[in-house]
């Protein structure tokens, strides 16, 4: 058997790599996207006070601490049996929308977008945000930095700290919003909407009006017909902060809709011997392997899946873009909802629609008269002993599950992070790309490194949440070896 090894040279040498095994005919037999393990998180937490979890979990990941902070705060609401005040919920959601705007903006311009804006076949050294600037102009760089700066400022003011928030408490939020702050944040939210509209226009001009790119987006290299997951509000509209988890089947028929605390009734985890990370799947369907279709329990939780499970968007401009995306893909409405899109590269477009929604929702919240209410906390008076909280992290549904003794000392901690939901789907996308791009033992497309990278870049995997290590824009190596290990062909690219 001939092996092609793609070794992303990560900070943890020897960990986190993709192996592609060929059969005797030189066709792809299997691919393995291995993920290492960070040890001892539950042991680290057990014995500590539950109310420390918003501060502990926002250290898991340097990229999405806000998502962990929110999920942890919500889990504490349940654990202490306390309902946050209406103003507190709005403050949390406001901060969360500012985070979403920065996160989705950064992903599009720095990671996902360069494939399209600079071009999927452009040299890797140019396929980054600097290449985007060369193509679109230096003003876009200024706008990205300004967007991050203004939202970072809002998060710092309302979160107590810029990077690792400190304001989330069981029952609410520790920092009310003053009128002066509200006025400033309204300006920020309006700027965010303009920026999101600009970004969607750029995507339209550069990607959708380019036949080659549109063909790539709609090609079957990145096509998977799986179940979709996302959180919806009472109108079955996308909501990042709160609601019920909805799952639709590959045809778009609602399969399940449940409260986050019921997740264990719906999700199980499959273990493979070759990786530490588990593969979540839909329990009632069962694990049938890395396969598509209605009979496979594999699901995806991503910007695209969130839109797939929703009847519509809760804000007007995002709704218009939502309609445009689904009609572009020729999706028909069935039972009041568009059929799902399964072309995974459309995730980039979905992410931009979410960016616009987050900006619009931020404006709604900051112009809500209640947002400046000083009533930001309900004081807990009891310990329930079990709390599950969930939000939509940018990279998928994020669930925190804590259990404590009667004093509120942690006895059990379990996290199902956004990216973990997508581990099976990501593995399948990498496998699919490899099968299309390798034939008879030869790499038929020298862009294989990028095409495979594109397969996991679209999910923007944050395996650091579970592992603190992943292949992203790291250097890649491909070795095509004879069965005896001799290298026939060596491809290398520095990230």
């Amino acid at each position: 058997m001939r092996q092609i090894a793609i070794d992303p040279i990560t900070r943890l040498e020897g960990h986190g790599k993709i192996d592609i095994f060929l059969d005797d005919a030189g066709e792809v037999a299997n691919t393995y996207f291995q993920v290492p393990e960070l040890r001892g998180f539950e042991q680290f937490c057990v014995g500590r006070l539950a109310e420390d979890m918003p501060q502990i979990t926002n250290r898991i990941c340097g990229v999405c601490p806000e998502a962990h902070h929110m999920a942890a705060s919500k889990a504490l609401d349940a654990l202490f049996g306390v309902e946050p005040t209406s103003a507190a919920k709005k403050l949390r959601e406001f901060v969360y929308m500012a985070f979403y705007v920065t996160d989705h903006t950064t992903h599009f311009y720095a990671l996902g977008g360069p494939d399209f804006i600079v071009g999927p076949d452009a040299p890797p050294a140019e396929r980054n945000i600097l290449g985007v600037i060369r193509k679109v102009g230096v003003d876009i760089g200024k706008q990205v930095i300004a967007c991050r700066a203004r939202n970072h400022h809002a998060i710092e003011v309302m979160g107590g700290r810029g990077v690792h928030l400190a304001a989330g408490l069981p029952g609410g939020w520790s920092k009310p919003m003053s009128e002066a702050e509200r006025a400033e944040f309204e300006t920020i939210a309006r700027a965010n909407i303009d920026f999101a509209l600009f970004t969607l226009k750029a995507f339209d001009d550069i990607v959708l009006k380019n036949e080659q790119y549109l063909a790539l987006v709609t090609s079957d290299v990145y096509l998977h017909r799986t179940y979709s997951m996302g959180t919806v509000d009472e109108k079955n509209q996308v909501n990042f902060y709160d609601g019920k988890v909805r799952v639709v089947d590959p045809d778009g028929v609602e399969f399940a809709k449940y409260r986050p605390e019921e997740y264990l009734l719906h999700i199980s985890e499959h273990v493979e011997p070759w990786t530490y990370l588990k593969f979540p799947y839909l329990k009632t369907i069962g694990w049938k392997g890395f396969v598509d279709g209605k009979d496979s329990g594999v699901y995806v939780a991503s910007p695209l899946s969130r839109l797939n499970v929703s009847d519509s968007m809760a804000t007007p401009r995002a709704q218009a873009e939502f309609d445009r995306m689904y009609t572009t893909f020729g999706c028909k409405k069935v039972g009041g909802r568009y059929q799902p899109i399964h072309h995974r590269l459309a995730t980039h477009w979905a992410r931009l629609i979410e960016l616009l929604y987050a900006a619009e929702r931020m404006l709604e919240l900051v112009t809500d008269p209640e947002i400046t209410s000083p009533d930001v906390r309900t004081i807990p008076t009891k310990v329930v002993g079990r709390g599950i909280g969930s939000v939509e992290a940018p990279r998928g549904t994020l669930t925190h599950h804590y259990e404590t003794d009667e004093r509120g000392v942690l006895t059990k901690v379990d996290l199902l992070v956004g990216t973990t939901n997508n581990y099976a789907a990501m593995s399948m996308s990498i496998n699919n790309a490899a099968r299309k791009l390798i034939s008879k033992g030869k790499v038929v497309d020298n862009g294989i490194l990028n095409k495979i990278e594109m397969a996991f870049r679209l999910y923007d995997p944050c395996l650091s949440c579970a592992t603190h290590n992943l292949p992203g824009t790291m250097p890649l190596q491909v070795n095509i070896r004879r069965p005896d290990g001799e290298i026939l062909e060596h491809l290398r690219r520095d990230g």
């Binding site: 040498e13 250290r59 990941c61 720095a110 980054n128 945000i129 991050r148």
Partner: protein, 171 residues
């Protein structure tokens, strides 16, 4: 010279927290200094660097080339040439430090002209925990002293006794 110190890493991931430990120790030695902690690098560094003439970054690294607890000082050029790499200056979700600096400069952001990076060789960056490995723990005062030496280049920070003043006015 207006200087910022950036301690990078995760304080609950064993040796990955060395940069944070050093930054906190430096803060005790020089309370008036501008010292920040960052869990991830890349474009996030542009959130903290504007307006400074010099940045001193301290981070864990896993090279296998030097013993745990030993450290290397290097410059942005070495990161650019990929002859040096630390655990957290690059963020796999967006970009590395040289790209972030280039982005900022292209966009007209006033960024430090001088970048000095301390990479401290780590033993374990995979286990949750608040303590450092013994060799890495022993490195804390050594790295702090070295960084203090760098900070001392700011004359405004030096008192007549030669120690770093806790109350010196910011340059």
């Amino acid at each position: 010279m207006k200087t910022i110190v950036v301690g990078m890493g995760n304080p609950i991931l064993s040796d990955d927290g060395i940069g944070i430990r050093v930054a906190r120790e430096l803060k005790r030695r020089a309370p008036a200094a501008d010292i920040v902690e960052l869990g991830a690098g890349g474009i996030r560094l542009l959130d903290v660097l504007p307006g400074y003439a010099r940045v001193l970054i301290v981070d864990a690294m896993v090279t296998g080339e030097i013993a745990c607890g030993q450290f290397r000082r290097f410059t942005l050029v070495e990161l650019q040439k990929k002859t040096a790499r630390t655990c957290n200056t690059l963020c796999v979700h967006d970009m590395d430090l040289p790209t972030a600096m280039a982005l900022g400069r292209l966009a007209g952001v006033a960024l430090p002209e001088e970048v000095v990076i301390w990479g401290v060789e780590a033993h374990d960056v995979e286990t949750f925990g608040e303590t450092l490995s013994p060799a890495v723990e022993a490195a804390v005062p050594v790295v702090v002293e070295d960084m203090v030496g760098e900070l001392l280049r700011e004359k405004a920070w030096v008192t007549s006794s030669g120690s770093i003043s806790a109350t010196a006015a910011r340059p």
